[in-house]
Structure formats: C-alpha cells, structure tokens
C-alpha cells in the first residue's frame, strides 16, 4: 500500500465523530469575519460600519496577487470593523456583522454548463469565491491553479487522507457528497488542463473509499487510491510521494514536480463556486474530543464563534483543559473560546483535564533517534531542538531547519517529551530562511 518513509501512528480517535452526519449550524446572531483568513496579504475592508450586507457580499477585497476576498456569511449590518482576538492569539483586523435573520443571498446564479467553462473562467470564479486551501494551510486556491508558464502540471490530487487524529470533516464530505468532490476535482483538472486526477484516502475510511470509487467509476481520468494509515500522510509532499512516487525537493512546491494538491473541502467549495457562484461562506467543522458532550460534524458559517459551535454540541462534558483549533498534531490551542471560525478551521478539539499531556516540563535530548526515524522530511529534529534551546539558531539553519513543516511527529514520539515543534518554530522566528 502506498505511503512514505517515516511517520507515526497516533491513536486516531475518529470513532467519536466519523459516523455523525454533517449538520448545519444555525447562523449565529453575529459573525466576526476576519480579513486575513489565508496565507498572503490580508484583504482590505470593503464595507464600513453601518453598511447593509447580504450573504456573499464581499466585505474584504484582496490586496495583491497572493490574497483572497472574504465574504459576509450572514445578511445584516456591519456593526464594527477593528481588531478582534483570533485562534492564533494575536488580535487581527475583522468585520463584525449583526445577523438580521433574513438569510438573503447577494447573488447566486447556477450555471448548468459549468463543466464546459473555459479554464480562465473557472479560475475567475474560484478567485471571486475567495476559496483557499481548507486543509489548514489556507493558500489561495486560485493562485495554486495559476502555475507559471515554465512549470507543467500533469496531476491533480485530492487530499482525502485526513491523517490528523479526531478530525472527520473531510471524511464526512467524501461519504455524503462524493460526486461533488469528483466534480470539483474535474473542474480543477480542467482549469489546469490536466488529464490525470487522484483521490488519496487513508485506509481507515473504507466507506469513503467505497463511495468515492463509485462516484469516480464513471470517469477514466480519475482514480481513487487507498493509502496506508500513517501520520502525516496528508501532508502535501508525503501525499505526492505516496501516490505518484515523486519527491518534492526542499523549498520547492508541488507544482515543481507537476502536481497540484487540493483538500476535499476545497474541492467541494470549488464545485459550488463554479456551478452556483457560491462564495466560501461556510465549511465543515468537526467538533470533537473527549471533553465535548456530543461530537458533531457541523456546517458552520465562517465567522461563527467557537463558543457557539461548542454550545451546539451540548457544551463541555468534563473539566476542560485545552481547546484546539484543528487537529491534535498541528492545531492551535485556543486561549479564548470567543474566536471566529475561519476558512481553515477544520475542527474544534476539546480535551479534558483527564489524560491531557502537560508540556511544561521536559528533559534533555537523549539522542534516541526516534525523531529521526519518524521525521517525514528526513531531518534530525532532536538536534534542531537542542540547537534552538541553546540559542544556536544559525547552526540549526544549516541543519535544514526550514525544511521542517512542523508536523509534530518528532514531538509525539519524543521520550524526553521535548517541545520540539515549539523550539523549531522559535528558531525559525530568529533567523531568516
């Protein structure tokens, strides 16, 4: 079964929510739409306080090439524009909209011939819809679909690995809307002029594999690949290696080896944007963890507050220690529940006090090489952590510091419980790439 070298096998805990159907979350009374929900330049506010907006009204216009617009996810009135706390901790610019409950759409036009649109028009629609990579990286999709001329892309892969434990958002999408995924994939292939598309799914989601295989059976150029269960199978480079055998060189992008990878959620969003002109105003968020009363897969409006999602799932069931936005391996721990869901929020993980790992004490590296074995990037994370700990950031750079994408496998296996990812991130923040 295809995979990559290294990686870890954390307990996947998907059983908490994998059988829960995606249910819509009631539009909240108030949404906080961050102007920066993507990698690149933040969008610039396109509305002012007091403006009336509808669902899908552009509230933030993209600035520069690598950027994306943001849209209102409710209809109502802009009541504030200013700094607002985010999942990352630091406040950021946001537009706060009060819901008038009318659920009015700005414009929503179905294009029945969406499959025959010229590539440029597909890209236009994707760009206008503000679609970004919904797996968590939030790279603007339209940019990804516009490779420079000298780079030829010949394969598109839909990333259905969802290797992060607990998360089931993509899984549910593949189970419930397989044909939308396939359609989205084919639109992306069309926009790039690519003849081969793959859907890579980890082996632990047999229902998704079966559903997707069925939906893809009509198309010669689309193949559903079942992959070994291993974290981080869903990391772009590892996925490409597993499916195509190609290795993306350090500092290079997937397109350098002719591949474009899109997340399942993104693919569905692409489909919706191209067919219906629907901007990215909602996404599937898995609310799960041992500390939540009723784990769910929610279709939540962008800008809903995390506390709202938690209330929808019945609140906390135990003394809660940690709430994580994203998966347990790469997600951000939240300092406050009053932060909005963004385009990249794939899950809300509630971890109770009991059984939690406390990261405040760690021991010196004993050089056991476990991290070296599991590092999917072939680095020496233990050494990097020691160098970072002792402030030798330049040396860390010489040991390929910037090839690390912080998957956390090393920290997961470390017997000394060293906060390797944090130290690596510290080193990265102290030196220039």
């Amino acid at each position: 079964m295809p995979t990559f070298a290294g990686g870890v096998h954390p307990p996947d805990k998907k059983e908490l929510s994998e059988s829960k159907q995606i249910t819509p979350l009631k539009a909240p009374d108030r949404v906080v739409v961050l102007l920066r929900q993507h990698i690149g330049a933040p969008a610039k506010a396109a509305v002012s306080i007091g403006d009336e907006v509808k669902i899908g009204t552009v509230v933030g216009r993209p600035e520069g090439f690598v950027s994306a617009p943001v849209h209102s996810s409710v209809s109502g009135k802009v009541i504030a524009i200013g700094e607002f706390p985010t999942a990352m901790g630091r406040p950021a610019e946001a537009v706060v909209i009060e819901n008038d409950g009318k659920e009015e759409w700005a414009e929503l036009k179905e294009d029945p011939a969406f499959m025959d649109l010229p590539p440029e028009q597909i890209k236009e629609k994707i760009k206008a819809a503000g679609i970004v990579g919904m797996g968590g990286a939030t790279f603007p999709t339209a940019v990804k679909l516009s490779p420079p001329k000298e780079k030829t892309v010949d394969v598109v892969i839909v990333n259905g690995a969802e290797c992060e434990p607990y998360l089931t958002a993509d899984h549910r999408l593949m189970v419930e809307r397989p044909s939308d995924v396939i359609n989205g994939l084919r639109l992306i292939m069309r926009s790039l002029g690519v003849k081969k598309g793959f859907v890579g799914i980890e082996d632990n989601k047999p229902d998704a594999i079966a559903g997707m295989r069925k939906a893809a059976s009509a198309f010669q150029d689309v193949e559903v690949v079942s992959m070994q269960v291993k974290y981080p199978q869903g990391a772009e480079k590892m996925l490409i290696k597993a499916i195509t055998g190609r290795e993306v060189p350090p500092r290079a992008l997937p397109m350098d080896v002719g591949v474009v990878v899109q997340n399942v959620g993104t693919t569905v969003a692409v489909y919706e944007a191209v067919r219906f002109g629907k901007p990215l105003i909602e996404r599937v968020v898995t609310v799960t963890g041992e500390g939540i009363r009723e784990p769910k897969n929610l279709m939540a409006r962008i800008g809903s507050l995390v506390s709202g999602l938690i209330d929808e799932c019945g609140g906390f069931s135990a003394q809660v220690a940690k709430v994580v936005a994203g998966g347990p391996m790469m997600g951000f721990a939240l300092s406050s529940l009053d932060v909005p869901v963004t385009k990249g929020t794939s899950g809300i993980l509630v971890l109770p006090e009991e059984g939690i790992f406390h990261a405040d004490e760690f021991k010196p590296c004993i050089r056991c090489s476990r991290c070296v074995d599991v590092c999917p990037m072939g680095l020496t994370p233990g050494l990097l952590s020691v160098l970072a700990e002792k402030g030798r950031y330049e040396e860390a750079k010489e040991h390929n510091l910037f090839d690390c994408f912080e998957c956390g496998s090393c920290a997961f296996v470390c017997p000394s419980k060293r906060p390797i990812v944090q130290l690596v991130r510290l080193a990265k923040s102290m030196v220039k790439p």
Partner: protein, 193 residues
Amino acid sequence: MGKLLELVIAASLVNNFVFTRYLGLCIFFGVSKKMDTAVGMSVTFISVMVISSSLSWVAYHFVMAPYHLEFLKILVFIVIIAAFVQAADTMMRKVAPALYYKLGIYLALITTNCIILAVPLINADSGYSFIDSIVFGFGSGLGFALALVIMASIREKLEVADVPKPFRGLPIAFVLTGLIALAFIGFSGLITL
C-alpha cells in the same frame, strides 16, 4: 615496510602524544575549540613535523654527532624549527597568500608546541635512521591531528551541554581529555617500540 607501518601506528595510536605522553597540550586545548581550526592546524602540523624531523636529523648526524655537540641538541633543534617556521611563514605569505590564509597562519603556533621538539629529541635518542625519523615524525603528527579532530568534534557537541558552571571551558576539557586517554589505553600493548 612492516616496521615503518608499526612506527606510524605506534606514534599515532598506541603512544599518541596527547593522550599517553601528555605533550602539545597548550595548542591542543587552544586549537580544538573549532573544527575548522583543528583541521587547518592538523594539516600544517603534519607537514612541519615531517620537515623538521628531517632537518634536525641532518643537523644531528652531520654536524653535532661528529663534533660531540650532542649536548646542544635542545638549543639547535628549537632554533632550527623556529627559523624554519618563521621563514616558511614569511615566504608563504608572499608567494602563496591563499594557501597561507588557509594553513600558513597556523605556523606561528608550532614553535611553542612541545611535540615539535620532542620528536627530534626522541629520534636522536633512539638512533632512528633518516627514513625512520621522517616516518616517526609523520606518525606523531598524525596522532596529534587525530587528537585535535576528535577533541574538536566532541567540544562542538559539548558547547550545547549543561556543564556545571565551575567546570565550563578548560576544566571540562581536561576531564574530557582524561576520559579519551582512558579509552586510548585500549590500544596499549598493540605495538611495543
């Protein structure tokens, strides 16, 4: 041939100057802080070692021994080496500046290294032939180079260690050298000279 190989192994491993004869320590501790300097010093040192053993052999056997001036050997050897090193330093700087900045800069460190003097003295005392002397000089240089490189690599690792404060720097370097010397005892008895 076998004997020469034995000489090299004996001088570099079994009777390593740093670890079993305790010589050349100042330079050893000074230069082994960084790998780059350790390697540069090693290369320069081996070459000077070979040249100085041959020069002093010539002086000893053609001048000093015939005229019974053996008692001057300390004086003559150190002066020959000092003069040679200084001349090499001056010339290299002009003739081959690139090489000078890579290796030549270490020449200055050589006169105060006991090994450079100990080798001609041992050569003279043991009655080694010309070839023996050169080979012994080479082996000794090799042993010193080995010690430097090992030490430099370990000290670079030690830089990130939590050594208790009073022991940082030289004290721990001494203890470390002691431990290496203890390990090198394993080679003892391999070859007897």
